[in-house]
Amino acid sequence: MRAYGAVLSANFRTLLQYRAAAIAGFTTQIFWGFIRVMIFEAFFRSSTAAQPMTVDEMVTYIWLGQAFIMLLPWNVDRELHNLIRSGQVGYELLRPVDLYNLWLSRALAFRTAPTLLRAVPLLTLALLFFGMGLPESPEAGLAFALSMVGALLISCSFTTLVNVTMMWTISGQGAANMAGIAVTIFTGMVVPIPFFPEWAQTVMEVLPFRGIVDTPYRLYLGHIPASETLFHLGHQLAWTVVLVLAGRWVLSRGLRRLVVQGG
């Protein structure tokens, strides 16, 4: 366990070094948030029909999305990609730790450090100046916090699954593309799930992706009542277990046929 902790904190500290990138990304995110807020406001102005969310809820949803954007598992770990392509993955195998756990710890650091860097200042600004609301109630706030942990677990176990498929494809681009497409639409990042047609909602409710965006944000808004928190946490954890088992299985198959390049 200590070894994984060390991996986590080492990766974490490396990522915290990229402060300039964080500032650039932060500015981009704010700009992007404004565009999306204005587009949604215009849509809400155009229709008097009842909508599944109010415009204020939508604004909060958008800023949450911008703040936690780095949590979305839509890219592969470039460094891991290089390890696999160059054959250095052989060294990873020599380490006296479980490879899957090692890579999962990497993913945890890879997702958490940039998220924290971006979320804390952005949430502060959005709450103070950009019309973002507070959690609907203290219970909603707590439910949101818990489900963000669930979101992190799903995101990282999914990232690791995508990462280990690079053992086959080497480039990882195809897998990353597919992941990107699924994440973009099924998380609720582009449009919150309640806006979709009924049949699509049914599918999206089952899939794991909503656990990364839609579930925690709607808990925050009280759009999903806090009393249902346990059910949604269960959904997140169940999918995490499935994704971890799938990742382990794919990795063990990959290691059996691994040929390390170079010499």
């Binding site: 990138a21 650039a24 990304g25 500015t27 981009t28 700009f31 992007w32 404004f34 565009i35 204005m38 587009i39 215009a42 849509f43 809400f44 102005r45 155009s46 229709s47 029909a49 909508q51 599944p52 480039s171 681009q173 195809g174 990353a176 593309n177 597919m178 990107g180 497409i181 973009t184 639409i185 582009v190 449009v191 806006f195 979709f196 047609p197």
Partner: protein, 267 residues
């Protein structure tokens, strides 16, 4: 000029042949690009299924606007991406080599890489604008057809200008900053919807500072025969795309200025 075009075509040919060596990867990347853009467009469809109109714009009209913007961007993105990695060339001192050749640096950079996988966006944009044209009841005249083509071409020019500007910054910062994506990708995201929906200060940025509205919103009004709540006259809507060309020329001037004060990193 003819010589420059011939050289560019030669560059393009080499780049395309290079990418065709990795055919499977090319196909997968193109599909991936298409897929990501496609699901974002699905988002627009979902919103229209709930809201019916966007401040007087129907789905088909927004789709037409979307197609115009993305066509222009896709051309620029495919043919001028060499500017994107310019920061690396400056840092490594590779730019020195370009300066030694008796051809324009802008041309050499543009031809450095033709990114074929960006064609995914082009395919989607053609599909969307094609669908919008059949769904809409536009009474086509020669002038409107010419305006549509001019909008796409001038749009490509304007986006190329933005990419050049983005690269020019690297002369001072020795790295290309992610932040300039706000203007290119953020601009595409913004102008794929009618400019009239945005707040005035924001609209101002994309009308007067980076005139993306000139190659999207304004000509689209004329083509679709819509009244402008912002009150622009019809002659302006027809003339607007030219601003894209002027913008490109201005960016090339700025680029020339950057090249003159370039000092190699010497490594």
């Amino acid at each position: 000029m003819v010589d420059a075009v011939r050289l560019y075509i030669r560059y393009a040919g080499i780049s395309v042949r290079g990418q065709m060596q990795y055919r499977a990867s090319f196909v997968m990347d193109t599909i991936g690009q298409f897929g990501i853009m496609g699901v974002e467009f699905i988002g627009i469809l979902v919103l229209f299924s709930r809201f019916d109109t966007l401040e007087g714009w129907s789905l088909a009209e927004v789709a037409f606007l979307y197609g115009l913007v993305h066509l222009g961007f896709a051309f620029a993105d495919t043919f001028s991406r060499g500017f994107d990695s310019f920061g690396v060339s400056v840092r490594l001192g590779d730019f020195d080599r370009l300066l030694l050749r008796p051809r324009s640096t802008a041309l050499q950079l543009a031809g450095q890489e033709i990114v074929l996988r960006r064609l995914g966006r082009l395919v989607l944009a053609i599909g969307v604008i094609g669908w919008a044209t059949t769904a809409l009841d536009v009474d086509w005249t020669a002038a409107k057809a010419a305006l549509t083509i001019a909008t796409v071409l001038c749009g490509a020019a304007l986006f190329t200008g933005l990419m050049i500007l983005h690269a020019t910054l690297a002369f001072w910062t020795t790295e290309t900053l992610e932040m300039t994506n706000i203007v290119t990708h953020g601009g595409v995201e913004t102008t794929q919807f009618p400019l009239s929906i945005y707040r005035p200060w924001f609209r101002g940025i994309f009308t007067f500072v980076f005139p993306l509205g000139a190659v999207s919103y304004f000509p689209a009004l004329a083509i679709l025969g819509k009244a402008d709540p912002l009150g622009s006259p019809l002659w302006f809507q027809y003339a607007a795309p030219l601003i894209g060309l002027v913008f490109l020329l201005m960016c090339l001037r700025v680029w020339g200025f950057g090249v003159r004060r370039y000092m190699s990193t010497g490594s």
